[in-house]
Amino acid sequence: MEKKYYELVLEGDYNAINGLLNGFLLGKNHDWTFYFSKKAGVKTETLIEVIADWISMKNKIHHIIMEDVFYKELRKAVEKYNKPLKIKSKFVNLNYIKSAKLIKKAHLNFKAITYGRQHAAEMKFLLKNIPAGIVLQNYKPVEKVVKDVKGVELYAPEHEYTFEASGTLVGNIGTMIDLKQKLDDYPLIEADKIHLKF
């Protein structure tokens, strides 16, 4: 069964939120996953949020991708902590959760170019062996060989071999974040930010 993820928008201090989430995981003794969207390369911010972020001196908007079970347990715990005791904690408060949306799908566009056959083979292998849960769409590989290239040239350089490819990877957000990290480690592939669909 594929894991489901929520995107939460939280307002608050980064360290406080990070501490809350990690502390919660430790307390619960679980290894549910969560990602700060910005760090994971997920496109999140609207223009208004960017402006608010700039204006704000302290509180920032944070988009967090979180496993659904983690989100549900967290919400339950925060509600339980706040309501019966009627306390308003500075750090554990539902008001800090501005929104929570279930992510249906994620996609990212990429393009790649290389002039070496060995690197092209590596790239093809990487794109052929994408993890389960991710589908490669609109894949356009172009291979070009210029036969009369005479080695390295000074004023009229042309590569003997060129491999270019572009496409879209679509699928589960958790797997997509891991794949994006892999693609980002490979300098010849330029992966855009991950786009979410709710």
Partner: protein, 515 residues
């Protein structure tokens, strides 16, 4: 059929472009300014006075001569055309340029030559053709051929690991070698070992960028062998070791600043590497293939120095080896240099193994490119140089007045003007243009205006690093790096992320200190 159409179009275009030149030439001729077959006693005396040479005899001869003072600016068009073609085509139409650069070069050369022949007569055009090719182009291309062949016969092998210290050392070695084997030769020798050493690293673009800055450009500033502009200066009379002694301080400062900066940047990136290779420094084995080529390299240096010392005065009939139109075309010293360099080239080909050359990715293509393009650059350069020699009253007076104040050269302006143009056009012809803007007399420049000559030399050599098109090896290094899987920045990416933030402040600092 397609070929015939192309040839027909070529001739139609040539004719169309030639018409304004012919018109301009006729106008000049009508005014009695075009071809002046003059008694060159005065001309020679003038040359001798200016250069400080004592001519043995002032032979009376009938060398055709054009006066640049009243030339139309249109005559500079073929020169600009070839320079802009070199700058623009590789970026906008690389495939077309790769296949047709020779034809484009021939086109601009023919445009000038046909128009010149019609406008000034075959006698004058052939005089300039022979003078340019014998006196400048042949010594120039044989030097580049010898350096290229010899440097391509040396191969650095070894299991190196690209740490900040080793990378800095490799770039330093390349920078030092560039002055003695040419920027192209040093880049060809060092780039593959540098790439191999950094293969394991995720962050390595900056290594190639600083390699371009230092090995492919700034490193070539200490001798006339280092970079083509300086060799053109040498052909025009700048002493071999004048370049070394005068360029050393400015080159040293630039190199120390850039190497220190490189070390800091490389250390930062090195710390970000998550995976390190198993074999770290200590176990590196370095070997050099083709060591005999170092001896040949010393031979090249010797041949060039020798040509400047032995029978080197073109105005002294006893030193002249080839004469045409009663004018010395080639000195005995230069002829000896050409013969020695060709011998060295043949020797290098004979003694170097195929494996060594293959390991360097050696082919004759780069030198053929240089020959085809510079054959046109040299001949088209004749007209703007004649215009510049006319000074502030000439057709290029606007350029001359921009770099002078009260008749005196402004060195800062020379440094930046030569540099700015060298960033986008080939630096060798740019150097010659400003050399002539400053008077064109090597002896006077070395003795009375050394800072001006320094500004021109440094501007031409250093600022070739500002863009990929500023100097020929830049493209070569970029191309080899890309084929090795390093995603080099685009043309503008290189400028915005690297050359403008790093080189421009460095050059400002050099201006404040040296000019």
């Amino acid at each position: 059929m397609r070929k015939k159409i192309v040839i027909l179009l070529f001739f139609i275009m040539s004719t169309c472009i030639c018409i304004p030149f012919i018109h301009a030439a006729n106008k000049a001729e009508n005014a009695g300014l075009a071809e002046t077959v003059h008694q060159s006693v005065a001309h020679e005396a003038e040359t001798d006075n200016a250069s400080g040479h004592e001519s043995a005899t002032a032979a009376v001869h009938h060398a055709p001569h054009i006066d640049g003072k009243d030339l139309s600016l249109l005559w500079a068009l073929p020169f600009l055309g070839i320079l802009l073609s070199i700058a623009i085509f590789p970026l906008l139409a690389p495939h077309f340029w790769h296949h047709h650069y020779g034809k484009v070069s021939l086109f601009w050369g023919l445009v000038l030559f046909i128009a010149f022949t019609i406008g000034f007569g075959p006698n004058t055009s052939f005089f300039y053709l022979v003078e340019t090719y014998l006196g400048e182009f042949i010594p120039f291309i044989t030097l580049l051929l010898a350096l290229f062949t010899v440097a391509g016969g040396i191969r650095l092998k070894g299991e190196l690991v690209g740490t900040p210290r080793l990378n800095t050392l490799l770039i330093f070695i390349g920078t030092f070698l560039a002055s003695w084997m040419g920027t192209t030769g040093a880049a060809m020798l060092m780039i593959r070992p540098v790439i191999r050493a950094n293969e394991w690293r995720k962050h390595k673009i900056h290594v190639i960028i600083f390699f371009i800055f230092l090995v492919a450009n700034i490193g070539g500033s200490l001798t006339p062998l280092g970079d083509p502009p300086l060799f053109l200066g040498f052909l025009k009379g700048v002493k071999f070791f004048w370049t070394t002694t005068h360029m050393l301080p400015i080159m040293g400062v630039a190199t120390v600043i850039l190497l220190a900066l490189f070390f800091v940047i490389d250390t930062i990136y090195y710390k970000r590497e998550t995976e390190r290779p198993a074999t770290l420094p200590g176990g590196a084995k370095i070997a050099i293939d083709g060591k005999a080529n170092f001896i040949l390299l010393a031979g090249i240096v010797g041949a060039v120095i020798f040509s400047g010392l032995w029978h080197s005065d073109i105005n002294n009939p006893a030193d002249v080896a080839i004469t045409a139109w009663g004018t010395g075309m080639l000195t005995k010293g230069t002829l000896a240099q050409v013969i020695i360099l060709l011998t060295i080239t043949v020797l290098s080909v004979k003694i170097t193994s195929k494996e060594t050359r293959d390991g360097n990715g050696f082919s004759w293509a780069p030198i053929i490119e240089v020959a085809k393009l510079f054959a046109t650059i040299f001949i088209t350069m004749v007209m703007p140089i004649a215009m510049l020699k006319a000074g502030v009253d000439g057709p290029l007076g606007a350029i001359v007045s921009q770099v002078t104040a009260d008749g005196q050269p402004v060195n800062k302006a020379f440094f930046w003007a030569t540099g700015a143009l060298s960033s986008f056009l080939d630096n060798a012809p740019t150097y010659v243009v400003f050399f002539n803007t400053a008077g064109g007399n090597a002896a006077q420049l070395m003795s009375e205006l050394p800072q001006t000559l320094l500004a021109i030399s440094a501007g031409a050599v250093f600022m070739g690093a500002n863009t990929y098109i500023g100097n020929a090896p830049n493209f070569m290094v970029k191309s080899i790096a890309e084929e090795s899987g390093i995603p080099m920045p685009s043309f503008f990416g290189y400028m915005l992320k690297w050359s403008i933030p790093i080189l421009i402040p460095t050059f400002i600092l050099l201006t404040l200190v040296f000019f």
